[in-house]
């Protein structure tokens, strides 16, 4: 490594409303290295990426590329200077052939504006361009698929094509946004090999992902983020064992009150052999899981493992391609999301999904839209007992609440319909440890009142502390199941998150 700094990020800050997604972040990328930016979901990695590559304006701080201040330049201007990125969700020009994708992305390599387009002679350049296209495709191993429509490629191949697109723009610094998301182990290690080959060809690489396993193995250095702040920086082997990093990934809070044990009861939710596909990705493959009455069941697993998809399938927000879901003994096939809510299901989704320009009271009342007015009055009392802070803010717009209060509102709104089963997706995401614990304690209290809960949670330690039983999901399949108390001490849970 020459030690020359290609990219310098200095005290970068980006806020949304009052919430700082990235706060005072500084790091640099050295020429010829592969730097990994890692951190749990919601840590601010993608926001950092979007600011660095010009898709978002920073609220403060500077970005320097090869010593030049490039803060706030448009993405295409940065690409021209040699900084090219990929996207979190696969983006290729799906209606074009693979070769044409590369040609389009080779825009910067070709010369001429509209005049040359009309009057220039296409013949001379054509063969040169075709040669370049072939060269790039061979380099990434897609040469045989040049004539195929990009949209028809397998998912893993599309992700590789995406990298090839970026390469066609001839970057000096390549920024990869979650290149391993949705890949299985052999696919992601092949992708990492490709990234190494790209580096060996002289391209500096900055990659973000939460696949700690792959990242730790493949990157030269890691920068770890959590809550918008830099947590650690250094060689992967050192970073992975830092207590702060372990806590960021697995969470803290094992000292919360454990729930009372429950007797074996009938199933509230029974999911069997569930299959869900998004386009070409199989998000769930034959997943089965049960929640019994009075239980808190935790569903843990790495990002992209299929946790959120499972909850969405249960509440009817994504179509199911196979398998069966039963709620209180009733088959949910063909039942609309609205009818599922009436049937006793409440879904408190990731990202909270509150109504920002309505008051706290209105948000709560909408949660009980189908109930009698006097019944919702008693529910309101119940919610305010759980979250006294909401009662102080009834006439405030929900959008003006703090992150923790919004989460409370989302949970409160969900229990307004007096559900039998609560699906809870990442309730502590972005919350401070103190608030996360408060949320957890509230869940235990709700559960003591008879509510069954299916909990998806990044903070595995916390989730396993309050759950009765837990499932570990990996690549859309249940890898492990059992009483939460046993899984708490199981090394394989740590492996799923940290790969250590």
């Amino acid at each position: 490594m020459s030690g020359r700094e290609v990219l310098q990020v200095e005290e970068l800050t980006r806020s949304f409303g009052g919430f700082a997604a990235v706060a005072d972040l500084s790091f640099h990328v050295e020429e010829g290295e592969i730097l990994g930016l890692v951190g749990p979901n919601g840590a601010g990695k993608t926001t950092t990426f979007n600011v660095v590559t010009g898709f978002l304006k920073p609220s403060g701080g500077k970005v320097r590329f090869r010593g030049e201040d490039v803060t706030g330049l448009a993405p295409h201007a940065l690409a021209r200077r040699g900084m090219v990125r990929t996207f979190q969700h696969t983006r290729v020009f799906s209606d074009l052939s693979v070769a044409d994708n590369i040609r389009v992305a080779g825009h910067l390599r070709e010369r001429g504006g509209i005049w040359r387009s009309v009057f220039g002679s296409p013949g001379n350049e054509r063969s040169a361009v075709q040669g370049r296209v072939r060269e790039i495709l061979e380099r990434v191993g897609l040469g045989a698929l040049a004539g195929n429509r990009a949209g028809s490629l397998a998912y893993g191949e599309q992700r590789i094509l995406e990298i090839a697109l970026a390469l066609a723009a001839q970057p000096q610094l390549l920024l990869l946004d979650e290149p391993f998301a949705g890949m299985n182990e052999s696919e992601s290690s092949a992708a990492m090999d490709l990234i190494h080959r790209i580096r060996d060809d002289g391209v500096t690489v900055l990659v973000i992902d939460h696949h700690m396993q792959t990242m730790a193995r493949g990157c030269d250095r890691l920068v770890v983020m959590d809550h918008g702040l830099k947590l650690a920086e250094g060689r992967p082997a050192d970073v992975v064992n830092e207590p702060a990093v372990v806590e960021a990934y697995l969470g803290a809070g094992s000292d919360v009150t454990a729930p009372a044990t429950v007797a074996q009861a009938e199933a509230v939710l029974d999911v069997s052999e569930l299959d869900v596909r998004y386009d070409r990705v199989r998000a769930l493959r034959g997943t089965s899981l049960t929640v019994r009455r009075g239980e808190i069941v935790a569903l843990v697993g790495a990002n992209g493992a299929g946790k959120t998809t499972l909850l969405r399938a249960v509440s009817g927000l994504v179509p199911v391609t196979g398998g069966r879901i039963e709620l209180l003994g009733r088959n949910l096939a063909g039942v609309s999301p609205v009818a599922r809510v009436r049937g006793g299901l409440a879904h408190c989704p990731e990202g909270r999904e509150i109504f920002p320009r309505m008051t706290v009271l209105e948000n709560l009342l909408l949660g009980a839209a189908d109930r009698e007015p006097d019944a919702s009055a008693s529910e309101l009392e119940h919610v305010f007992r759980l979250f006294p802070r909401l009662e102080e803010r009834t006439s405030q717009f929900a959008g003006s609440l703090s992150g923790g209060e919004q989460q409370m509102l989302a949970i409160g709104r969900a229990v307004m319909s007096r559900p039998k089963l609560l699906l809870l997706d990442e309730p502590t995401l972005g919350l401070s440890p103190l608030l996360a614990r408060e949320v957890a304690e509230t869940l235990v209290r709700l559960n003591a009142g008879g509510l069954s809960v299916l909990l998806v949670e990044q903070n595995a330690v916390l989730a396993l502390a309050i759950a009765h039983r837990a499932y570990v999901i990996e690549n859309g399949r249940i890898a492990l199941a059992g009483p939460a108390a046993e899984l708490r001490n199981d090394e394989s849970v740590k492996r799923v998150y940290l790969g250590a």
């Binding site: 690409a79 020009f93 296409p122 004539g147």
Partner: protein, 344 residues
């Protein structure tokens, strides 16, 4: 399994090579046939009414081919195209009435269209999706209001009468196109421009600029990230399309010898849009099929009142959107691919 799919891919591209050659040959044959038909048309349809329709089809081809640069090329659903035609028509008519030669009028139409396109594109292209369509639609109407209100310049709703016929003075050959009765000559003039614009559209589609447009249409963020200045590319396309529409306006003004704001209303913009979608946006044949089909349709509806003709137009439009989202040319292409697929 992976190896099998790769082998299939390679096989696919080899077969595609053969199919490409056959298709190129077919394209040439079809192209020549269409050209021959276009040249023979005024001698097959000899009535004045039919020849009038032929000239209008030619002008509409120029307009739709330029609109297709936006719709088929960049996915920009512009709904104010007739207004740019109007700007070009007025610019040309006024200059030639003031004594300038026809060629200057044509050039002025082109420039005026380009200028108007630039001015409209600057704010409108800041919007995404259908908000862009809505704004082009509204701005198109503003332009017709201006034509009506700038009475000193345009004579308002009365329109401009007595616009001089096109005079060509080329290497000692003089000709005045007295288009009220003699339409064939002017038809060939329009046809030449139509061929030129179609060629231009085709060249642009296969150029670096055209690929940048395709990228914008496919995914604007991705296009930005590989270094395409999307706003500038869109603005260039919008300006070029408006310039060609201005040229078409000039051709129209010196053909009818009379223009008024009524000739360039949103209904005409809308018709052009339908022609583009109906023919097939982003296809080579689309800008020919659409105008021929729809101009013939509206002449077939001449028996009806103009109001009912518009009702039919609106209905056709909605049906096209629902049943044939890729237009006639796109539909034929898909059907052919489906047939080939079955044979394989």
């Amino acid at each position: 399994m992976r190896a099998a799919s790769r082998a299939e891919g390679r096989l696919g591209s080899a077969e595609r090579g053969g199919a490409d050659l056959a298709r190129t040959r077919l394209t040439w044959v079809l192209g020549l046939a269409v050209a021959a038909l276009a040249i023979a048309a005024p001698h097959v349809f000899t009535s004045i009414a039919a020849r009038h329709l032929l000239v209008l089809i030619g002008i509409n081809i120029v307009l739709v081919a330029s609109l297709d640069l936006l719709i088929g090329g960049a996915g920009l659903l512009s709904l104010g195209h007739a207004a740019f035609m109007g700007v070009g028509a007025y610019a040309s008519a006024l200059l030639v009435k003031a004594g300038q030669p026809f060629a200057v009028g044509l050039g002025a139409g082109l420039l005026a269209g380009a200028l108007a396109g630039l001015l409209v594109g600057l704010p409108a292209l800041r919007l995404k999706g259908h908000y862009f369509s809505v704004v082009t639609f509204i701005v198109g109407i503003i332009i017709t209001i201006l034509m009506t209100n700038l009475v000193d310049l345009t004579r308002g709703p009365m329109g401009l009468t007595g616009i001089p016929f096109a005079k060509v003075d080329l290497f000692g050959w003089h000709h005045t196109f007295k288009t009220i009765v003699f339409k064939v000559g002017y038809y060939y003039l329009v046809l030449a421009f139509a061929a030129l614009v179609l060629l231009l559209r085709w060249r642009l589609g296969r150029s670096r600029f055209g690929r940048a447009l395709t990228a914008v249409k496919g995914d604007e963020n991705l296009a930005e990230s590989v270094g395409i200045a999307t706003y500038r590319v869109k603005l260039t396309a919008f300006t070029v399309a408006a310039a060609i529409a201005g040229l078409a306006g000039s051709l129209y003004a010196h053909y009818t010898a009379f223009i008024s704001p009524d000739s360039f209303t949103f209904v005409h913009s809308f018709d052009l849009f339908v022609m583009n979608l109906l023919g097939g946006a982003g296809t080579v044949a689309g800008p020919i099929i659409g105008p021929v089909f729809l101009t013939a349709l509206s002449s077939g509806l001449k028996g009806l009142s103009p109001a009912l003709a518009h009702v039919v137009h609106g209905t056709v439009l909605i049906l096209v959107i629902v049943a044939l989202p890729t237009g006639i040319a796109g539909g034929v292409k898909r059907a052919a691919e489906a047939l080939r697929g079955r044979r394989r």
